[in-house]
């Protein structure tokens, strides 16, 4: 049965194009469906344009949700990228 897993992070910086690309490339390595939610907007984490279209900025709360056999690993990987990529000075 596919597992569902979710974790949230508060961004330490804006989510720019380059981290959005890294995030989409990383999400594509998992078979689980992965989505990001910011406020009322959601995007497929595997779609770089969708992720950039969220316009997520410093201080916003991003929820990463995955559903599938590798949901836990997928969420951990995406959270790590969000933490690193939006770190101030990164």
């Amino acid at each position: 049965m596919p597992a569902s897993y979710e974790e949230a992070i508060t961004l330490a910086g804006d989510l720019h194009a380059r981290p959005a690309g890294a995030l989409a490339v990383a999400a594509a390595q998992f078979s689980s469906a992965v989505s990001l939610t910011v406020g009322a907007s959601s995007a497929d984490a595997k779609s770089v344009l969708g992720v950039m279209g969220l316009g997520a900025t410093c201080g916003q709360h991003v929820t990463v949700t995955a559903e599938g056999p590798d949901a836990h690993e997928a969420v951990a990987a995406i959270i790590a990228i969000l933490a690193e990529a939006t770190r101030v000075g990164a």
């Binding site: 959005a20 779609s47 279209g53 316009g55």
Partner: protein
């Protein structure tokens, strides 16, 4: 999986500067693991398109998994279609994306970097038609 050949991307623009810049941007966003070859301008450096440049770009972009071409405006499509319609030793498969230039190139390149096959890379480029930026 990460050792598989990536789909290559060719940018066909009337402007060499536009093709070069879009390729540079897409390489940055996608992490630099995909062959993104610009084919912009005429052979003598004017605004326009060149079948010879596109042909060279296709050969450079091909890593064995096929190539997706993203054209900028109408007559770039005509140049590409005319080239693909001629017999020759071009790489296969080759697909032409009906997509906005910058968004299409970025979406296609990121999909290719993620290991997507040529149909999925083409679909990523064409979904860019519906992506909102605001």
């Amino acid at each position: 999986m990460s050792l598989d050949a990536r789909v290559g991307i060719v940018l066909v623009s009337h402007s060499a500067a536009l093709a070069d810049g879009a390729a540079e941007l897409a390489a940055q966003v996608s992490g630099g693991t995909v062959a993104i070859i610009p084919a912009g301008g005429t052979d003598d450096g004017r605004l326009g398109t060149s079948a010879a440049k596109v042909e060279r770009a296709l050969k450079l972009a091909d890593g064995g998994a096929g190539v997706v071409i993203v054209p900028d405006l109408g007559s770039a499509v005509l140049t590409v279609r005319a080239l693909l319609g001629e017999p020759g030793d071009l790489p296969t498969p080759v697909e032409v994306a009906d997509a906005p230039f910058v968004e299409g190139v970025v979406a296609a390149t990121v999909a290719a970097a993620g290991g997507a096959n040529i149909k999925a890379v083409l679909a990523a480029a064409e979904e860019a038609r519906h992506a909102r930026k605001l």
